[in-house]
């Protein structure tokens, strides 16, 4: 991981050109390509990913969505998934599409770097190359013409086996425009067309050291979203406590058809990764401040991470698990309890801050 010397300054970095070395990458094993690509873009702007992506922690589920991509996350606000993940920072994103190398060049030129959806089947550095169709995200911060008149894009992928370097437009565009057909080897992340999707980002946030007030604001927001969540018959999103309760009830109903539990593995990744980053953020703040109530938040967030593993993997393996109905009830309630305990620790940490607690 590279954190440039821009932390603490207000200067927006020059556009990344490759001349200054490698593109910043960031990886932790609970993270999906959604967080690692956004984290790279944050690093490029001199921001610490944990400080930005680790503040918010919530439950949000869209029952009507198709969930078959590693980077799937329910869309919430109108400022894009980056704003959904970074509600306390001036960061936003938007999906757009293209279909040719020239389209991608134009997008890189306009946005300085873009996050490109790809089918790993076409990327020589991915384990799935020429083997398995699976949706993924990579960062493309630059392009160039080769001496023979071809086009290459610089591709950064922090997910193991971690790659960055120049890749021919042919490879990248093939992955970017793939139909990503249904693949029995990867029933979780195949079967939705990549369709030339590109995630553009705007990061206007200046680097700043988190303060106690920043932490309190984040915990307050998290607690409010937990308490005020909804899961009514007409709600597109099931959120917060109500949403998770309904989600767990739905899992229990789906246990009769184990294959229908699979999307929970995919969906849960983004929720789990967020809880991990929130725990890491709280842990770092607790370590610096000596605030035991923030350490409790960190420990409770870690329980949420573990509870998500138990739910996700049980759902993924459901077809081979006897007595799935009883187990899914146990694991669902464990997840609910873990979030509820985290909410209690948010409340207690806020009380310690002297902040108004409802």
């Amino acid at each position: 991981m590279t954190i440039t010397g821009t932390v603490g300054t207000t200067a927006r970095p020059e556009r990344w050109s490759g001349a200054a070395g490698t593109y910043p990458q960031w990886y932790e094993d609970p993270l999906s390509c959604l967080q690692t690509t956004l984290g790279s873009v944050l690093l490029e702007h001199g921001l610490r990913p944990v400080d930005v992506l680790g503040r918010s922690c919530e439950f949000v589920f869209a029952p009507g969505d198709v969930m078959c991509e590693e980077f799937y996350r329910p869309a919430q606000g109108d400022r894009g998934v980056a704003a959904d993940l970074c509600p306390y920072h001036d960061v936003e994103s938007a999906w757009t599409t293209g279909s040719t190398a020239d389209d991608l060049i134009a997008l890189v030129e306009e946005h300085s770097r873009v996050i490109v959806a790809v089918d790993n089947y076409y990327l020589p550095f991915r384990p799935a190359y020429q083997d398995v169709h699976a949706a993924h995200l990579v960062v493309v911060p630059a392009w160039r013409r080769t001496p023979d008149g071809g086009v290459e894009f610089y591709v950064s992928d922090a997910q193991p086996p971690a790659f960055q370097g120049w890749l021919s437009a042919e490879h990248l565009v093939a992955g970017w425009t793939s139909g990503n057909p249904s693949d029995t080897q990867d029933v979780f992340f195949s079967s939705r067309e990549i369709g030339g999707r590109v995630l553009t980002t705007k990061v206007r946030q200046r680097p700043e050291e988190p303060t106690a007030a920043h932490v309190a604001r984040a915990l307050r927001g998290n607690l409010d979203r937990w308490d005020d969540g909804a899961a009514g018959p007409t709600d597109r999103l099931w959120s917060g406590r109500s949403g998770l309760r309904r989600f767990v009830g739905r899992l229990t109903e789906q246990a009769a058809d184990p294959a229908s539990l699979r999307p929970a593995y995919t969906f849960g990744w983004s929720m789990q990764a967020q809880a991990f980053l929130h725990g890491r953020f709280a842990q770092e703040r607790a370590f610096r401040s000596g605030d035991a109530s923030l350490a409790a938040v960190a420990a409770s967030a870690d329980r949420v991470v573990s509870a998500w593993s138990n739910v996700r993997l049980l759902c993924a393996h459901a077809a081979n698990v006897p007595e799935i109905s009883a187990l899914i009830l146990r694991r669902g309630e464990e997840l609910l309890h873990a979030y509820e305990q985290l909410a209690v620790d948010w409340r207690l940490a806020l009380a310690r801050e002297g902040t108004d607690v409802r």
Partner: protein
């Protein structure tokens, strides 16, 4: 001084973690059917003076226990720790249920880090870190699988008679060794022995 007993897991082996280039598709370490390259023999590790030994990892049949609530009888005495070699499909925490001789039951937490390019936040030692990972149809370089050495406390001081593993398809166990205090008092030099000391 301590005594230990390596638990025989052979009756419980129900999952195949190791494969050879000839049977890559037989691996079942995770949903992607990844596996580790077959090893020349069982892994033998010593952590905190506690020996751990896996089954053979020759790529020929089951070599680890995928946790599904198995009940394992143990030599009855007071034990303090369960040392394991294991891994999680993703970071996992779950519980081991202890069955004590007086009928009491208790649980303690088992925490294992991710097998797939995992990093440990829990101070675990490596039992194995591979240079490559087996996929059903190819051998992938530059990605490693990790098996971890971990321990679980047995908080209750009652004599233990059995344990139940969690019901969790994300938890793989390859070796288990119970550790307790030697009955001998004072400074008598007792060598750790395998099996229940009589």
């Amino acid at each position: 001084m301590t005594v230990h007993t390596m638990l025989a897991l052979e009756p419980f082996l129900n999952n195949q973690a190791a494969t050879t280039p000839d049977n890559l598709a037989d691996g079942r370490l995770n949903v992607w059917r990844n596996s580790i390259p077959a090893q020349p023999g069982p892994l033998e590790r010593v952590v905190d003076g506690v020996p751990l030994r896996t089954a053979r990892l020759d790529g020929n049949g089951p070599d680890n226990v995928l946790c599904a609530g198995q009940r394992i009888e143990v030599p009855e005495r007071r034990w303090d720790w369960l040392y394991v070699i294991g891994c999680g499909e993703r970071r996992v925490k779950d519980v081991i249920t202890w069955h004590f001789s007086d009928g009491s039951v208790d649980r303690d937490q088992l925490a294992l880090s991710d097998l797939w390019e995992g990093r440990s936040d829990r101070g675990e030692e490596l039992a194995l870190r591979t240079d490559v990972i087996h996929y059903p149809y190819h051998v992938q370089e530059r990605i490693g699988i990790t098996l971890w050495c971990q321990r679980v406390p047995i908080t209750s001081r009652q004599p233990l008679s059995a344990m139940s593993l969690p019901e969790n398809p994300a938890v793989h166990l390859f070796a288990m060794t119970l550790v307790g205090q030697s009955a001998s008092a004072g400074s008598e030099e007792l060598r750790p022995t395998e099996g229940e000391p009589q």
